[in-house]
Subunit: 133 residues, 6 copies
């Protein structure tokens, strides 16, 4: 039983690490003293189950995620994590800006503006590599 | 002046027609007797300005749109229009289902469920072609 | 004690009747068998306390209410009641359409579209009088 | 591996059945032809993981769920399922009405009204037993 | 008339004090120079009317409130006040964590994460007494 | 073509300047290095198209905007900009407070409280002139 649980957890951890990098590990660490089981669920369900499914490429998954988070407008920390994640899986800065501008159509200009300012913060602390830009 | 205005409007109309097909035209018709100017803005800004920008492919744009609308959860008619639009620009049924399942992570299971049931309705009235499926 | 309670309740009932007309009475009737106390609160707080305050005219109050409900996007029955109420207190059909189009800027085009279609329904069942139009 | 997967799935299925009864089974059936994997996740994560945790009684869990769904206001089908579920785990009709009235404080009167009308529908199709009322 | 008004106000003040303690008083003080009438309404309606009703225990009321606020995700100051309030009326830290983890199912992982981090802040400034923990 | 584009842009810039004053210019400046095209759209569509329409006075437009933003509750920076804008177009401080208190009815007390505290911040940095107060 431990072995199987580990399989799902390990798969999620690998996906989390590949997608979110240090940001994902930081969230897990922040949960350690208040809700360690939730850190486990976060690794197992979103990353071990959903992001590990073969039916959609990670680039498309991150486009969907930053669009959803920008539209909701009440999850700025997670939006920043996934703007970084989008860069990590090959969405360019210009494409991220396109996606966030488009959110103005579906959730209004304030949601788009706040998301663009979140992107501005992320970009300023992530110097573009050749590949990412 | 008419000419330039027409340029932006015509570009939007072409984009709307290519992306949303009949559904877009139907919305414009429904607005005719209550807010015809809004039909014009709908064509000019979202489609003439945003969707016509070269920096992001239409497939990625529709992935972002259905993710945003599914997450918001209060725009089911527009979600259905854009599930159709996503099919029109080459997102497959299986990919749409992947995107909507992923919304459970960011906006909860009810938002994902209601979006999946909207997709079920759209799929049942759009027989899959070879390309779309 | 009854007298004072009646004062607040009666003031709310008068405001509700003046603003929402039959629609307000219908909501109160629908609550009678499930939550009669909530019908009382609905009359006392929103109408007896808030709408009865002298610091803002009813026209401005209804503009604020339909803007808020259109932006929230998940309260279509109440939006329709207050589109009727706005007409009752002197906001014209054209002004209501202007307000709802403006919601596209702050809450997105789907919220504005769904609110405009709600207005279309209300308008079709309320033939314009000279004053209201 | 099958055995362990089954353990989590079976635990979720037992919880779903105990809490939601037929309504849960109906949702799973509706997903069968569009997103069968999502039906499995729905059983495994919310019910197999969360509702099966020993740290909070089911009565408290359903109070939290109907409060959350009523506040969100865009998940009426799920709200109705969980009003039934709340009755199933011993929350009385009067208590459900109290919870939904309280939502007016945190999410506004329209959210509370729409939730109360959802409860009215559920109650009318679930004749009160001695215990539930 | 003054007497009756005082009755409702005094009842609300007593409830507010019992539930929210200093946090409630602080909010009232913050409103004093901008909207003193709103401070009165806040005491009268939520606390004098709703929380003072006999049909639901305060423990259940606070479970509903923190679930609603965590799901909405845009009211972090009020969520913190009510996490404290939940502790005050006997909900344990472990139960609060259970409720907030469950919000992931209905409003997504970001809403649950942000609520858990709010709880972490509250817990760190409220050393557990024997009773509360 | 340039001439016509300029017409729409210039009209929006004039409206933005009249309504939002320095706050509008600041937002445009903040977008310059990340999404300059979005700054252009922000001037053209909300201000050049919507706010420049003759069918509704600016006072009514700002009442609608602050009501919508307060109800949404996830756009505090834009709410502050438009509380300033409302003052600029002749809505008094007392009327703004009335509008925001009313939001408690439609979006709950936390949304109203957070909007009132935003207004408190704006008012404290904008000494009332004779006209504005």
């Amino acid at each position: 039983m431990t072995q199987v649980h580990d399989t799902r957890y390990q798969r999620g951890l690998a996906a989390l690490s590949a997608i979110d990098g240090e940001a994902g590990e930081k969230v897990v660490a922040q949960l350690a003293d208040i809700a360690p089981d939730f850190a486990r669920y976060l690794i197992e369900f979103p990353f071990g189950d959903i992001y590990s499914r073969p039916g959609l490429d990670l680039r498309s998954r991150e486009i969907a995620t930053i669009a959803a988070l920008a539209a909701l407008g009440n999850a700025q920390p997670q939006l920043k994590v996934h703007i970084t994640a989008a860069l990590n899986v090959g969405v360019t800065r210009d494409e991220i800006v396109e996606i966030l501008m488009q959110i103005a159509v579906y959730a209004g200009f304030p949601a788009a503006l706040n998301a663009l300012f979140a992107a501005k913060e992320v970009f300023s602390s992530h110097p573009p590599s050749g590949a990412a830009q």
